[in-house]
Protein backbone atom coordinates (compact mmCIF):
# COMPACT_ATOMS: atom_id res chain seq x y z
CA UNK A 1 0.00 0.00 0.00
CA UNK A 2 2.98 2.28 -0.39
CA UNK A 3 1.49 4.54 -2.97
CA UNK A 4 2.97 8.04 -3.12
CA UNK A 5 -0.62 9.31 -3.12
CA UNK A 6 -3.67 7.43 -1.87
CA UNK A 7 -7.12 8.97 -1.55
CA UNK A 8 -10.02 7.12 0.05
CA UNK A 9 -13.60 8.37 -0.12
CA UNK A 10 -12.68 12.02 0.26
CA UNK A 11 -15.49 14.58 0.31
CA UNK A 12 -15.33 18.32 0.86
CA UNK A 13 -18.02 21.00 0.88
CA UNK A 14 -17.90 24.76 1.09
CA UNK A 15 -21.17 25.57 2.84
CA UNK A 16 -23.85 24.41 0.40
CA UNK A 17 -21.48 23.70 -2.46
CA UNK A 18 -20.11 20.19 -2.72
CA UNK A 19 -16.58 20.62 -4.06
CA UNK A 20 -15.56 16.95 -3.92
CA UNK A 21 -17.80 13.96 -3.46
CA UNK A 22 -16.41 10.60 -2.53
CA UNK A 23 -13.13 10.71 -4.42
CA UNK A 24 -10.86 7.65 -4.33
CA UNK A 25 -7.74 6.80 -6.30
CA UNK A 26 -4.07 5.97 -5.99
CA UNK A 27 -1.07 7.30 -7.86
CA UNK A 28 1.89 5.02 -8.55
CA UNK A 29 5.50 5.86 -7.90
CA UNK A 30 7.10 7.82 -10.70
CA UNK A 31 3.79 8.29 -12.44
CA UNK A 32 2.77 11.46 -14.31
CA UNK A 33 -0.87 11.64 -13.27
CA UNK A 34 -3.25 14.19 -14.79
CA UNK A 35 -6.40 15.59 -13.23
CA UNK A 36 -8.40 16.89 -16.14
CA UNK A 37 -11.50 19.04 -15.80
CA UNK A 38 -12.95 22.52 -16.16
CA UNK A 39 -12.88 25.33 -13.58
CA UNK A 40 -15.01 24.50 -10.58
CA UNK A 41 -14.58 20.74 -11.01
CA UNK A 42 -12.74 20.43 -7.68
CA UNK A 43 -9.15 20.14 -8.88
CA UNK A 44 -7.66 22.81 -6.62
CA UNK A 45 -9.62 21.59 -3.58
CA UNK A 46 -8.19 18.13 -4.09
CA UNK A 47 -4.65 19.51 -4.38
CA UNK A 48 -5.05 21.66 -1.27
CA UNK A 49 -6.16 18.62 0.71
CA UNK A 50 -3.17 16.61 -0.50
CA UNK A 51 -0.65 19.31 0.36
CA UNK A 52 -2.29 19.70 3.80
CA UNK A 53 -3.68 23.20 3.35
CA UNK A 54 -7.26 22.02 3.71
CA UNK A 55 -8.87 19.18 5.67
CA UNK A 56 -11.31 16.80 4.04
CA UNK A 57 -14.82 16.65 5.57
CA UNK A 58 -14.92 12.91 5.09
CA UNK A 59 -12.51 10.22 4.00
CA UNK A 60 -8.75 9.89 4.29
CA UNK A 61 -5.79 10.81 2.14
CA UNK A 62 -2.15 9.79 2.36
CA UNK A 63 0.99 11.15 0.77
CA UNK A 64 3.98 8.80 0.92
CA UNK A 65 2.07 6.92 3.61
CA UNK A 66 1.54 9.98 5.83
CA UNK A 67 -1.98 11.01 6.77
CA UNK A 68 -2.82 14.49 5.47
CA UNK A 69 -4.63 15.46 8.67
CA UNK A 70 -2.39 14.38 11.54
CA UNK A 71 0.99 13.96 9.82
CA UNK A 72 0.95 17.17 7.83
CA UNK A 73 4.38 18.26 9.03
CA UNK A 74 6.01 15.22 7.45
CA UNK A 75 4.13 15.75 4.22
CA UNK A 76 5.13 19.41 3.91
CA UNK A 77 8.81 18.42 3.96
CA UNK A 78 8.54 16.05 1.05
CA UNK A 79 6.09 17.59 -1.38
CA UNK A 80 6.57 20.35 -3.90
CA UNK A 81 3.51 22.47 -4.66
CA UNK A 82 2.91 24.96 -7.43
CA UNK A 83 -0.47 26.60 -6.77
CA UNK A 84 -2.67 27.89 -9.56
CA UNK A 85 -2.07 31.50 -8.71
CA UNK A 86 1.50 32.80 -8.98
CA UNK A 87 2.65 32.77 -5.37
CA UNK A 88 6.28 33.79 -5.36
CA UNK A 89 7.54 36.98 -3.83
CA UNK A 90 7.09 39.57 -6.55
CA UNK A 91 9.42 42.07 -4.93
CA UNK A 92 12.27 39.62 -4.49
CA UNK A 93 14.58 38.81 -7.37
CA UNK A 94 14.65 35.46 -9.13
CA UNK A 95 17.74 34.47 -7.16
CA UNK A 96 16.33 35.69 -3.84
CA UNK A 97 13.17 33.65 -4.32
CA UNK A 98 15.24 30.55 -5.00
CA UNK A 99 17.44 31.11 -1.96
CA UNK A 100 14.41 31.79 0.21
CA UNK A 101 12.63 28.57 -0.72
CA UNK A 102 15.84 26.57 -0.37
CA UNK A 103 16.58 27.98 3.07
CA UNK A 104 13.05 27.29 4.35
CA UNK A 105 13.75 23.64 3.64
CA UNK A 106 17.23 23.90 5.19
CA UNK A 107 19.06 23.38 1.95
CA UNK A 108 20.85 25.55 -0.59
CA UNK A 109 20.42 26.18 -4.29
CA UNK A 110 23.97 24.98 -4.79
CA UNK A 111 23.33 21.66 -3.07
CA UNK A 112 20.30 20.80 -5.20
CA UNK A 113 21.24 22.66 -8.34
CA UNK A 114 21.27 19.44 -10.36
CA UNK A 115 17.53 19.01 -9.72
CA UNK A 116 16.52 22.35 -11.17
CA UNK A 117 19.33 22.88 -13.67
CA UNK A 118 17.26 21.98 -16.74
CA UNK A 119 14.58 24.55 -15.88
CA UNK A 120 16.43 27.12 -13.82
CA UNK A 121 19.26 27.58 -16.30
CA UNK A 122 16.69 29.05 -18.70
CA UNK A 123 15.93 31.92 -16.33
CA UNK A 124 19.29 32.21 -14.62
CA UNK A 125 20.48 34.95 -17.01
CA UNK A 126 17.73 37.10 -15.41
CA UNK A 127 18.50 36.13 -11.82
CA UNK A 128 18.71 39.71 -10.58
CA UNK A 129 15.33 40.65 -12.06
CA UNK A 130 12.39 41.01 -9.67
CA UNK A 131 9.97 38.10 -9.93
CA UNK A 132 7.10 40.53 -10.50
CA UNK A 133 8.79 41.80 -13.66
CA UNK A 134 9.13 38.41 -15.34
CA UNK A 135 7.04 37.33 -18.33
CA UNK A 136 4.36 34.69 -17.79
CA UNK A 137 6.47 31.85 -19.11
CA UNK A 138 9.46 32.84 -16.98
CA UNK A 139 7.33 33.13 -13.83
CA UNK A 140 6.11 29.64 -14.46
CA UNK A 141 9.68 28.31 -14.75
CA UNK A 142 10.71 30.10 -11.58
CA UNK A 143 7.70 28.73 -9.69
CA UNK A 144 8.55 25.21 -10.81
CA UNK A 145 12.20 25.66 -9.82
CA UNK A 146 11.15 26.88 -6.36
CA UNK A 147 8.81 23.90 -5.97
CA UNK A 148 11.66 21.52 -6.79
CA UNK A 149 14.58 23.00 -4.89
CA UNK A 150 14.14 20.87 -1.74
CA UNK A 151 14.10 17.62 -3.71
CA UNK A 152 10.46 16.64 -3.16
CA UNK A 153 9.36 13.09 -3.88
CA UNK A 154 5.89 14.14 -5.00
CA UNK A 155 5.18 17.24 -7.05
CA UNK A 156 1.72 18.87 -7.17
CA UNK A 157 1.21 21.27 -10.06
CA UNK A 158 -2.16 23.00 -10.01
CA UNK A 159 -3.02 24.24 -13.50
CA UNK A 160 0.52 25.19 -14.46
CA UNK A 161 -0.46 25.82 -18.08
CA UNK A 162 -3.71 27.75 -17.70
CA UNK A 163 -3.67 30.94 -19.74
CA UNK A 164 -0.34 29.93 -21.25
CA UNK A 165 0.03 29.96 -25.03
CA UNK A 166 0.28 26.75 -27.04
CA UNK A 167 4.03 26.96 -27.57
CA UNK A 168 4.90 27.55 -23.91
CA UNK A 169 2.49 24.79 -22.92
CA UNK A 170 4.36 22.36 -25.12
CA UNK A 171 7.69 23.38 -23.63
CA UNK A 172 6.32 23.01 -20.11
CA UNK A 173 5.17 19.45 -20.79
CA UNK A 174 8.56 18.61 -22.25
CA UNK A 175 10.08 19.76 -18.94
CA UNK A 176 7.67 17.53 -17.04
CA UNK A 177 8.63 14.52 -19.12
CA UNK A 178 12.28 15.10 -18.22
CA UNK A 179 11.43 15.51 -14.53
CA UNK A 180 9.53 12.27 -14.60
CA UNK A 181 12.67 10.51 -15.78
CA UNK A 182 14.28 11.50 -12.47
CA UNK A 183 11.73 9.26 -10.74
CA UNK A 184 9.64 12.01 -9.20
CA UNK A 185 5.88 11.40 -8.90
CA UNK A 186 3.93 14.22 -10.51
CA UNK A 187 0.27 15.17 -10.14
CA UNK A 188 -0.78 17.87 -12.55
CA UNK A 189 -4.17 19.42 -13.11
CA UNK A 190 -5.33 21.10 -16.31
CA UNK A 191 -8.48 22.26 -18.08
CA UNK A 192 -6.86 21.53 -21.47
CA UNK A 193 -8.09 18.16 -22.69
CA UNK A 194 -5.32 17.88 -25.28
CA UNK A 195 -2.78 17.62 -22.46
CA UNK A 196 -4.31 14.36 -21.22
CA UNK A 197 -2.42 12.40 -23.85
CA UNK A 198 0.90 13.45 -22.27
CA UNK A 199 0.06 11.79 -18.92
CA UNK A 200 0.55 8.14 -17.92
CA UNK A 201 -2.94 8.08 -16.42
CA UNK A 202 -5.63 10.69 -16.03
CA UNK A 203 -8.68 11.27 -13.87
CA UNK A 204 -11.52 13.06 -15.69
CA UNK A 205 -13.25 15.21 -13.11
CA UNK A 206 -16.44 17.28 -13.27
CA UNK A 207 -18.62 18.79 -10.52
CA UNK A 208 -16.53 17.22 -7.77
CA UNK A 209 -16.86 13.72 -9.13
CA UNK A 210 -14.41 11.54 -10.96
CA UNK A 211 -16.02 10.33 -14.16
CA UNK A 212 -13.24 7.98 -15.22
CA UNK A 213 -9.65 7.05 -14.38
CA UNK A 214 -7.45 5.29 -16.89
CA UNK A 215 -4.55 5.72 -19.27
CA UNK A 216 -5.36 8.06 -22.17
CA UNK A 217 -5.45 5.02 -24.48
CA UNK A 218 -7.75 3.20 -22.03
CA UNK A 219 -10.14 6.13 -21.91
CA UNK A 220 -10.26 6.30 -25.68
CA UNK A 221 -10.71 2.52 -25.83
CA UNK A 222 -13.74 2.73 -23.55
CA UNK A 223 -15.56 5.05 -25.94
CA UNK A 224 -18.33 2.93 -27.36
CA UNK A 225 -20.01 5.08 -29.99
CA UNK A 226 -19.21 5.41 -33.67
CA UNK A 227 -17.71 8.83 -34.11
CA UNK A 228 -17.73 10.65 -37.44
CA UNK A 229 -15.89 13.69 -38.64
CA UNK A 230 -18.10 15.74 -40.94
CA UNK A 231 -16.97 18.54 -43.22
CA UNK A 232 -18.80 20.44 -45.92
CA UNK A 233 -18.36 23.71 -47.77
CA UNK A 234 -20.85 25.43 -45.46
CA UNK A 235 -19.38 25.06 -42.00
CA UNK A 236 -21.34 27.97 -40.53
CA UNK A 237 -24.72 26.43 -41.30
CA UNK A 238 -23.86 22.81 -40.72
CA UNK A 239 -24.26 22.73 -36.96
CA UNK A 240 -27.89 23.86 -37.13
CA UNK A 241 -28.63 21.51 -40.00
CA UNK A 242 -27.19 18.60 -38.03
CA UNK A 243 -29.25 19.54 -34.99
CA UNK A 244 -32.37 19.26 -37.11
CA UNK A 245 -31.36 15.83 -38.42
CA UNK A 246 -33.53 13.10 -36.94
CA UNK A 247 -30.70 10.69 -36.11
CA UNK A 248 -28.31 13.16 -34.53
CA UNK A 249 -27.21 12.19 -31.06
CA UNK A 250 -24.43 14.77 -30.68
CA UNK A 251 -22.87 17.28 -33.06
CA UNK A 252 -19.98 19.37 -31.76
CA UNK A 253 -17.57 21.72 -33.49
CA UNK A 254 -14.03 20.37 -33.45
CA UNK A 255 -11.52 22.61 -35.14
CA UNK A 256 -12.33 22.74 -38.83
CA UNK A 257 -14.96 19.99 -38.74
CA UNK A 258 -17.91 18.60 -36.77
CA UNK A 259 -17.74 15.50 -34.62
CA UNK A 260 -20.99 13.65 -35.02
CA UNK A 261 -22.59 10.66 -33.31
CA UNK A 262 -25.81 9.02 -34.40
CA UNK A 263 -28.79 7.65 -32.52
CA UNK A 264 -28.88 4.75 -34.94
CA UNK A 265 -27.50 1.42 -33.81
CA UNK A 266 -25.68 1.03 -37.12
CA UNK A 267 -25.19 4.58 -38.33
CA UNK A 268 -25.90 5.04 -42.02
CA UNK A 269 -23.47 7.64 -43.34
CA UNK A 270 -25.01 7.54 -46.82
CA UNK A 271 -28.30 8.65 -45.35
CA UNK A 272 -26.51 11.51 -43.56
CA UNK A 273 -24.76 12.42 -46.81
CA UNK A 274 -28.00 12.70 -48.74
CA UNK A 275 -29.61 14.65 -45.89
CA UNK A 276 -26.79 17.20 -45.93
CA UNK A 277 -26.83 17.42 -49.73
CA UNK A 278 -30.57 18.03 -49.52
CA UNK A 279 -29.81 20.96 -47.22
CA UNK A 280 -27.54 22.44 -49.87
CA UNK A 281 -24.15 21.26 -48.62
CA UNK A 282 -21.52 20.43 -51.23
CA UNK A 283 -18.18 18.64 -50.89
CA UNK A 284 -19.55 16.64 -47.97
CA UNK A 285 -16.90 14.50 -46.27
CA UNK A 286 -17.96 11.97 -43.65
CA UNK A 287 -15.25 9.82 -42.10
CA UNK A 288 -15.33 7.56 -39.10
CA UNK A 289 -12.56 8.57 -36.71
CA UNK A 290 -11.01 7.59 -33.40
CA UNK A 291 -12.12 9.86 -30.56
CA UNK A 292 -9.70 11.94 -28.56
CA UNK A 293 -9.93 12.56 -24.81
CA UNK A 294 -12.14 15.62 -25.34
CA UNK A 295 -14.74 13.50 -27.18
CA UNK A 296 -14.63 11.02 -24.30
CA UNK A 297 -14.97 13.77 -21.69
CA UNK A 298 -18.07 15.17 -23.40
CA UNK A 299 -19.60 11.72 -23.75
CA UNK A 300 -19.21 11.23 -19.99
CA UNK A 301 -20.68 14.60 -19.02
Amino acid sequence: MNYPVAIKNVSKSYRKVKALSNISFEVNKGELFGIIGPDGAGKSTLFRILVTLLKPDEGEAFVEGYNVVNQFKEIRKIVGYMPGRFSLYQDLSVEENMNFFASIFKTTVKENYHLVKDIYSQIEPFKTRLAGKLSGGMKQKLALSCALIHSPTVLFLDEPTTGVDAVSRKEFWEMLQRLKQQGITILVSTPYMDEAGLCDRVALIQNGEIMEIDSPEGIIGNYTKNLYKVKTDKMFEIINDLRDYQYTDTAYRFGDSIHFTSKQENPDSDELLSYLQGKGHDNVQINEIKPDVEDCFMALM
Binding site: P38, T162, R169, P191, Y192, R253
Partner: protein, 244 residues
Protein backbone atom coordinates in the same frame (compact mmCIF):
# COMPACT_ATOMS: atom_id res chain seq x y z
CA UNK B 1 -13.53 38.05 -50.70
CA UNK B 2 -16.79 39.95 -50.50
CA UNK B 3 -16.51 43.65 -49.79
CA UNK B 4 -17.65 44.49 -46.30
CA UNK B 5 -17.83 47.71 -44.41
CA UNK B 6 -14.70 47.86 -42.26
CA UNK B 7 -15.14 48.31 -38.53
CA UNK B 8 -11.50 48.35 -37.51
CA UNK B 9 -8.80 49.93 -39.62
CA UNK B 10 -5.25 49.88 -38.33
CA UNK B 11 -2.51 51.36 -40.47
CA UNK B 12 1.05 51.19 -39.12
CA UNK B 13 -0.15 50.84 -35.54
CA UNK B 14 2.93 51.23 -33.33
CA UNK B 15 3.21 51.37 -29.57
CA UNK B 16 6.48 51.84 -27.73
CA UNK B 17 7.19 51.74 -24.02
CA UNK B 18 10.53 53.51 -23.77
CA UNK B 19 12.82 51.57 -26.10
CA UNK B 20 10.59 48.54 -26.11
CA UNK B 21 8.39 48.16 -29.18
CA UNK B 22 5.26 46.33 -28.01
CA UNK B 23 3.39 46.77 -31.31
CA UNK B 24 5.51 47.16 -34.41
CA UNK B 25 3.71 48.56 -37.45
CA UNK B 26 0.54 46.49 -37.32
CA UNK B 27 -1.66 46.65 -40.41
CA UNK B 28 -5.08 45.06 -40.51
CA UNK B 29 -8.71 45.75 -41.11
CA UNK B 30 -11.67 43.88 -39.70
CA UNK B 31 -15.04 43.85 -41.44
CA UNK B 32 -18.60 44.15 -40.21
CA UNK B 33 -19.88 40.88 -38.77
CA UNK B 34 -16.51 39.22 -39.13
CA UNK B 35 -15.13 36.84 -36.49
CA UNK B 36 -11.50 37.85 -36.22
CA UNK B 37 -9.10 35.73 -34.18
CA UNK B 38 -6.23 37.65 -32.63
CA UNK B 39 -3.62 35.07 -31.68
CA UNK B 40 -0.12 35.17 -30.31
CA UNK B 41 2.14 33.83 -27.59
CA UNK B 42 2.10 35.37 -24.12
CA UNK B 43 3.93 38.67 -24.30
CA UNK B 44 3.57 39.00 -28.08
CA UNK B 45 1.70 42.29 -27.68
CA UNK B 46 -1.97 41.32 -28.01
CA UNK B 47 -3.19 43.05 -24.86
CA UNK B 48 -1.37 46.26 -25.77
CA UNK B 49 -3.11 46.34 -29.16
CA UNK B 50 -6.53 45.54 -27.69
CA UNK B 51 -6.20 48.37 -25.18
CA UNK B 52 -5.51 50.77 -28.03
CA UNK B 53 -8.49 49.52 -30.04
CA UNK B 54 -10.74 49.91 -26.99
CA UNK B 55 -9.66 53.51 -26.50
CA UNK B 56 -7.88 52.78 -23.22
CA UNK B 57 -4.35 53.46 -24.41
CA UNK B 58 -2.87 55.86 -26.94
CA UNK B 59 -0.72 54.46 -29.75
CA UNK B 60 2.72 55.96 -30.34
CA UNK B 61 1.98 56.32 -34.06
CA UNK B 62 -0.22 55.04 -36.84
CA UNK B 63 -3.69 55.75 -38.22
CA UNK B 64 -6.32 53.73 -36.43
CA UNK B 65 -10.09 53.94 -36.44
CA UNK B 66 -12.60 51.77 -34.60
CA UNK B 67 -16.26 51.89 -35.67
CA UNK B 68 -15.24 54.91 -37.74
CA UNK B 69 -13.82 56.83 -34.77
CA UNK B 70 -10.24 57.97 -34.31
CA UNK B 71 -8.31 56.34 -31.45
CA UNK B 72 -6.49 59.59 -30.65
CA UNK B 73 -9.35 62.05 -30.58
CA UNK B 74 -12.62 60.13 -30.30
CA UNK B 75 -11.93 57.62 -27.56
CA UNK B 76 -15.17 58.24 -25.68
CA UNK B 77 -17.17 57.59 -28.85
CA UNK B 78 -15.24 54.37 -29.36
CA UNK B 79 -16.09 53.22 -25.84
CA UNK B 80 -19.79 53.71 -26.51
CA UNK B 81 -19.64 51.56 -29.63
CA UNK B 82 -17.71 48.58 -28.35
CA UNK B 83 -18.35 45.74 -25.93
CA UNK B 84 -15.67 43.95 -23.94
CA UNK B 85 -15.50 40.71 -22.06
CA UNK B 86 -12.51 38.91 -20.58
CA UNK B 87 -11.96 35.65 -18.81
CA UNK B 88 -12.25 37.55 -15.56
CA UNK B 89 -15.94 38.26 -16.00
CA UNK B 90 -17.04 41.72 -15.17
CA UNK B 91 -20.22 40.61 -13.42
CA UNK B 92 -20.96 41.92 -9.94
CA UNK B 93 -21.00 38.72 -7.94
CA UNK B 94 -23.18 40.03 -5.11
CA UNK B 95 -25.80 41.63 -7.33
CA UNK B 96 -28.63 39.65 -8.91
CA UNK B 97 -28.80 38.82 -12.58
CA UNK B 98 -31.29 41.60 -13.24
CA UNK B 99 -29.35 44.13 -11.16
CA UNK B 100 -26.30 43.46 -13.33
CA UNK B 101 -28.32 44.10 -16.47
CA UNK B 102 -29.78 47.29 -15.00
CA UNK B 103 -26.34 48.49 -13.92
CA UNK B 104 -24.70 47.94 -17.30
CA UNK B 105 -27.71 49.26 -19.16
CA UNK B 106 -27.54 52.40 -17.04
CA UNK B 107 -23.84 52.85 -17.72
CA UNK B 108 -24.43 52.62 -21.45
CA UNK B 109 -27.28 55.11 -21.19
CA UNK B 110 -30.13 52.81 -22.17
CA UNK B 111 -33.64 53.85 -21.13
CA UNK B 112 -35.52 51.84 -18.50
CA UNK B 113 -37.72 50.43 -21.22
CA UNK B 114 -34.73 49.41 -23.35
CA UNK B 115 -33.05 47.79 -20.36
CA UNK B 116 -36.20 45.79 -19.60
CA UNK B 117 -36.63 44.71 -23.19
CA UNK B 118 -33.01 43.77 -23.73
CA UNK B 119 -32.82 41.92 -20.40
CA UNK B 120 -35.91 39.91 -21.23
CA UNK B 121 -34.55 39.17 -24.69
CA UNK B 122 -31.26 37.74 -23.39
CA UNK B 123 -32.69 35.87 -20.40
CA UNK B 124 -35.34 34.33 -22.61
CA UNK B 125 -32.74 33.28 -25.16
CA UNK B 126 -30.46 31.78 -22.53
CA UNK B 127 -33.36 30.06 -20.78
CA UNK B 128 -32.44 31.85 -17.55
CA UNK B 129 -35.61 33.89 -17.02
CA UNK B 130 -36.45 32.12 -13.77
CA UNK B 131 -33.01 33.03 -12.37
CA UNK B 132 -33.52 36.75 -12.90
CA UNK B 133 -33.45 37.49 -9.16
CA UNK B 134 -30.66 35.07 -8.23
CA UNK B 135 -27.40 36.49 -6.96
CA UNK B 136 -24.60 35.92 -9.50
CA UNK B 137 -22.25 34.05 -7.17
CA UNK B 138 -24.79 31.26 -6.79
CA UNK B 139 -24.71 30.47 -10.51
CA UNK B 140 -22.50 27.94 -12.34
CA UNK B 141 -19.48 29.23 -14.22
CA UNK B 142 -20.90 28.43 -17.65
CA UNK B 143 -24.00 30.54 -17.03
CA UNK B 144 -21.97 33.44 -15.72
CA UNK B 145 -19.92 33.33 -18.88
CA UNK B 146 -23.00 33.52 -21.09
CA UNK B 147 -24.44 36.34 -18.97
CA UNK B 148 -21.16 38.26 -19.16
CA UNK B 149 -21.24 37.95 -22.93
CA UNK B 150 -24.85 39.16 -23.04
CA UNK B 151 -23.90 42.20 -20.96
CA UNK B 152 -21.01 42.96 -23.29
CA UNK B 153 -23.46 43.25 -26.20
CA UNK B 154 -26.40 44.71 -24.25
CA UNK B 155 -26.01 48.14 -25.86
CA UNK B 156 -25.78 46.69 -29.39
CA UNK B 157 -22.14 47.65 -29.98
CA UNK B 158 -20.62 47.60 -33.47
CA UNK B 159 -17.84 45.37 -32.23
CA UNK B 160 -17.24 43.14 -29.23
CA UNK B 161 -13.77 42.28 -27.89
CA UNK B 162 -13.50 38.87 -26.26
CA UNK B 163 -10.24 38.33 -24.40
CA UNK B 164 -9.84 34.59 -23.73
CA UNK B 165 -13.57 34.25 -23.12
CA UNK B 166 -13.57 30.46 -22.84
CA UNK B 167 -10.62 29.88 -20.50
CA UNK B 168 -11.30 27.06 -18.05
CA UNK B 169 -14.88 26.23 -19.04
CA UNK B 170 -15.95 22.69 -19.85
CA UNK B 171 -15.82 21.49 -23.47
CA UNK B 172 -19.58 21.51 -24.04
CA UNK B 173 -20.08 25.01 -22.61
CA UNK B 174 -17.12 26.19 -24.69
CA UNK B 175 -18.92 25.06 -27.84
CA UNK B 176 -22.23 26.59 -26.76
CA UNK B 177 -20.34 29.83 -26.30
CA UNK B 178 -19.14 29.67 -29.89
CA UNK B 179 -22.74 29.17 -31.02
CA UNK B 180 -23.48 32.50 -29.36
CA UNK B 181 -20.49 34.09 -31.10
CA UNK B 182 -21.73 32.91 -34.50
CA UNK B 183 -25.20 34.23 -33.80
CA UNK B 184 -23.91 37.64 -32.80
CA UNK B 185 -21.69 37.84 -35.89
CA UNK B 186 -24.66 36.87 -38.00
CA UNK B 187 -26.52 39.86 -36.55
CA UNK B 188 -23.73 42.08 -37.88
CA UNK B 189 -21.68 42.61 -34.73
CA UNK B 190 -17.95 42.24 -35.36
CA UNK B 191 -16.23 39.79 -33.01
CA UNK B 192 -12.57 40.31 -32.10
CA UNK B 193 -11.44 37.31 -30.07
CA UNK B 194 -8.27 36.00 -28.42
CA UNK B 195 -7.85 32.41 -27.32
CA UNK B 196 -5.25 29.84 -26.37
CA UNK B 197 -7.40 27.00 -27.69
CA UNK B 198 -6.13 26.36 -31.18
CA UNK B 199 -9.28 24.47 -32.20
CA UNK B 200 -11.12 27.75 -31.63
CA UNK B 201 -8.78 29.49 -34.05
CA UNK B 202 -10.40 27.31 -36.70
CA UNK B 203 -13.83 28.77 -35.88
CA UNK B 204 -12.73 32.28 -36.87
CA UNK B 205 -13.26 33.77 -40.30
CA UNK B 206 -9.72 35.11 -40.32
CA UNK B 207 -6.92 35.02 -37.79
CA UNK B 208 -3.79 37.04 -37.23
CA UNK B 209 -0.80 35.63 -35.40
CA UNK B 210 1.44 38.00 -33.51
CA UNK B 211 5.08 37.21 -32.76
CA UNK B 212 7.27 39.64 -30.83
CA UNK B 213 5.07 42.66 -31.48
CA UNK B 214 4.56 42.04 -35.20
CA UNK B 215 1.80 40.37 -37.16
CA UNK B 216 3.54 37.41 -38.77
CA UNK B 217 0.50 35.99 -40.54
CA UNK B 218 -3.05 37.08 -41.29
CA UNK B 219 -5.51 35.07 -43.33
CA UNK B 220 -8.28 32.48 -43.20
CA UNK B 221 -7.41 29.34 -41.22
CA UNK B 222 -7.67 27.31 -44.43
CA UNK B 223 -5.17 29.48 -46.32
CA UNK B 224 -2.73 29.52 -43.42
CA UNK B 225 -2.81 25.74 -43.07
CA UNK B 226 -2.12 25.35 -46.77
CA UNK B 227 0.64 27.93 -46.72
CA UNK B 228 2.49 26.33 -43.80
CA UNK B 229 1.67 22.80 -44.96
CA UNK B 230 0.12 21.61 -41.70
CA UNK B 231 -3.30 20.13 -40.97
CA UNK B 232 -4.33 22.25 -37.98
CA UNK B 233 -4.05 25.79 -36.66
CA UNK B 234 -2.05 24.33 -33.79
CA UNK B 235 0.57 23.40 -36.39
CA UNK B 236 0.53 26.90 -37.90
CA UNK B 237 0.89 28.47 -34.47
CA UNK B 238 3.79 26.24 -33.47
CA UNK B 239 5.63 26.93 -36.71
CA UNK B 240 5.29 30.68 -36.41
CA UNK B 241 5.59 31.24 -32.69
CA UNK B 242 8.63 28.97 -32.29
CA UNK B 243 10.52 31.49 -34.36
CA UNK B 244 9.97 34.14 -31.73
Amino acid sequence: MEQRESIIEAINLTKKFGNFVANDNLNFMVGKGEIFGFLGANGAGKTTAIKILCGLSRPTSGNITVAGFDVYTEREKIKKNIGYMSQKFSLYEDLTVFENFRFYGGIYGLSKKEIRERTNYFLDKLGLMEYKDKVINELPLGWKQKLAFSLAILHKPRIVFLDEPTGGVDPITRRQFWDMIYEVANDGITVFVTTHYMDEAEYCGRVSIMVDGRIEALDTPETLKNKYEVDSMDGVFLKLARKG
